[in-house]
């Protein structure tokens, strides 16, 4: 590649691939295009090969597996798995454990996403309006949970929430209330996981929101203030409408992330007590890698994927319409 011959005067007009108008010097441009074609594909090859082998192939394979009885013995001999049609999918919707996992995942998303977005927005506004000293310090502090290992975070939270010698239990003892056995109670286990997820993901939302807030021209705010808008009016009439693209983006990525929730329940509760924190991803992992019902687990993966796609499309529609 490094021996490419000189390619004179490629005019700046050639921008769109393949759509170049053939003006004077077109032949030379074509030769240059040929060179760039080759180079372009060579530069793309490593990514495309890795993508093909480790992403595209598995995605297709999951779909195929979801129509088979793929089990433990097929890990060594994948091709011997038998085609079973839609059996796995039919079974799924009669599987009470899976339906519970669907409900739990919905619970996690419906409560967790608005909390994360709302608090992230509040922190962003707080840090963007008036915190100039130690600004970095505050941002690093709020973002720190995002960059830490989920395993360590989960371990720490387990001890914070411990009913006998945990931090909250201790605070409760001093203030005169008895803290529940957060992770051991069917009622409190899920809210505890949600609280941890909000704590952990707040920083991402905050950073995105700050970037969005800084894109709002100062003149707009000043005009609003001159017209006598108070803080609440400014938030509702100026900040939120102008922040809509950022809000949309953060809502969509947070929702997708929360629909896939796996690590929090895996490390904190293993899905218990009595499946109160079993999510779809965790159910899939258990079916696939603990019981090796890989065909069945693949069907779960696709059901979850379809749900994610549908919700994402819905969110994009709804929030776009609002701007009109």
């Amino acid at each position: 590649m490094s021996t490419t011959t000189p390619t004179p005067a490629r005019s700046g007009a050639v921008k769109a691939p393949g759509g170049a108008p053939d003006g004077p010097g077109g032949r030379r441009r074509k030769r240059s295009m040929g060179k760039q074609n080759l180079a372009g594909w060579l530069f793309s090859t490593p990514f495309l090969v890795l993508f093909g082998v480790f992403m595209l192939f598995p995605i297709v394979a999951t779909l195929l597996m979801s129509f088979t009885d793929f089990g433990q013995r097929h890990v060594r001999r994948p091709l011997e798995a038998e085609f079973v049609g839609f059996d796995n999918y039919v079974k799924l919707f009669g599987d009470e454990q899976f339906l519970k996992a669907l409900f739990n995942t919905a619970y996690f998303v419906v409560v967790g996403v608005p909390l994360t977005i709302g608090l992230g927005l509040l922190v962003a506004i707080l840090l963007n309006n008036g915190i100039d000293r130690a600004r970095t310090f505050f941002r690093v502090g709020f973002y720190a949970p995002v960059v830490t290992t989920i395993v360590a975070v989960a371990i720490v939270w387990r001890f914070v929430l411990d009913p006998s010698d945990g931090l909250i239990a201790g605070l409760g003892a001093e203030l005169g209330f008895t803290a529940p056995d957060f992770l051991g109670s069917e009622t409190w286990a899920m809210p505890s996981l949600i609280a941890m997820a909000v704590w952990r993901n707040l920083g991402t939302v905050m950073v995105l929101m700050i970037a969005g807030l800084q894109a709002i021209p100062a003149e707009v705010r000043e005009a609003a203030r001159l017209d006598g808008a108070n803080a609440w009016q400014e938030l509702r009439r100026i900040t939120v409408p102008l922040l809509r693209p950022t809000l949309l983006y953060t809502t969509v990525i947070t929702t997708i992330g929360y629909l896939n929730v796996f690590e929090e329940p895996f490390v904190m509760t293993q899905g218990g007590p009595s499946d109160a924190t079993l999510t779809v991803s965790l159910d899939m992992y258990k079916q696939g890698f603990s019981f090796f019902n890989m065909g069945y687990a693949s069907a779960m993966a696709y059901v979850l994927f379809v749900v994610i796609m549908a919700i994402t499309v819905l969110q994009l529609r709804l929030m776009k319409d609002n701007t009109k």
Partner: protein, 291 residues
């Protein structure tokens, strides 16, 4: 739980007619920060507590007696240096691969006109959105078939070229003026030379951002190393820690201190690196997230 006080603290900001005064703003932000930092503080302090302090009820904040026993026990019972080494090797390999492959494709997408470019970019965008759940089952079968379970290759290859990195590099490389590359082409430079000698030095800040994100992503990665390793010799730090935490046979009480010590050892390097390089984080998120 931790989120609720922050919400209550921030609520008055809405109701006030006048803007909040500076000191009040700082008080609210500091309270929020304290809530965010509490689990970390709790972890750091507990790592140095004795068994007696750890099981005290009600719990004590400060260790009545500072001890390193938890760290000694941890190193005694778990092969922490080996796990640390595994984590470092995997993270370095993943990062090097991503830096090279993502900037190569990023360059092609930003600066080379080739037929099918928009299709390749479409693939990158689609790959950004694919959840891991959709791949992990056959990926395990594939890696097993390739005899790569319990190998570094098995841990690295599925993450060797992330779509996020391609997207990030493309965004940055688009800002390079075409004239510069044209001039080099007129002087007879080949595309590889241009990429390596002109483009790469110009996007060093983006490479720094990508390095941090990729390294941390790999360092914190949990699900795949958990699936792709059976041999404790090849465990990464998070897998080793989680396995230990979920082991029903570990001795109660004293093990809690070890877990806190272990968590501290895993988290501390990350927090230090992050605090030093935080500028690159926020830039990276803002660029890759919103453009």
């Amino acid at each position: 739980m931790s989120a609720a006080p922050a919400a209550q603290a921030a609520a008055p900001a809405r109701r006030r007619q006048r803007r909040m005064s500076k000191p009040a703003l700082y008080v609210v932000a500091s309270l929020g920060l304290l809530v965010m930092a509490t689990p970390f503080l709790w972890m750091a302090l507990s790592a140095f507590k004795t068994k007696k302090d750890l099981t005290a009820s009600p719990p004590v904040w400060l260790p009545s007696e500072w001890t390193l026993q938890n760290f000694r026990d941890l190193l005694d019972q778990l092969d922490m240096p080996q796990y640390f080494l595994n984590s470092v090797i995997v993270a370095v390999l993943v990062t090097v691969c991503n830096l090279l492959f993502c900037s190569m494709l990023g360059y092609a997408l930003a600066k080379l006109n080739f037929t099918g470019r928009s299709k390749v970019f479409g693939i990158v965008l689609a790959a950004l959105m694919v959840p891991a759940n959709l791949m992990v089952l056959p990926l395990f079968v594939l890696i097993n078939q390739l005899n790569l379970l319990d190998t570094y290759a098995g841990l690295v290859l599925p993450f060797a070229a992330a779509a996020f990195g391609v997207f990030l590099m493309r965004q940055f490389m688009q800002a390079i003026p075409d004239e510069l590359l044209e001039a080099a082409r007129m002087d007879g430079a080949g595309e590889w030379y241009i990429f390596w000698r002109i483009v790469i030095p110009l996007v060093k800040p983006a490479l720094a951002t990508l390095t941090i994100f990729t390294f941390l992503g790999s360092w914190n990665n949990f699900i795949w190393p958990l699936i792709a390793t059976n041999d404790p010799e090849k465990y990464t730090l998070p897998v080793a820690l989680a396995t230990f935490a979920n082991d029903p046979n570990r001795t109660v009480g004293g093990a809690n201190g070890m877990l806190m010590a272990g968590s501290l050892l895993v988290v501390l390097p990350v927090l230090v690196v992050f605090a030093v390089l935080q500028r690159h984080f926020t830039q990276g998120i803002a660029t890759a997230g919103l453009k």
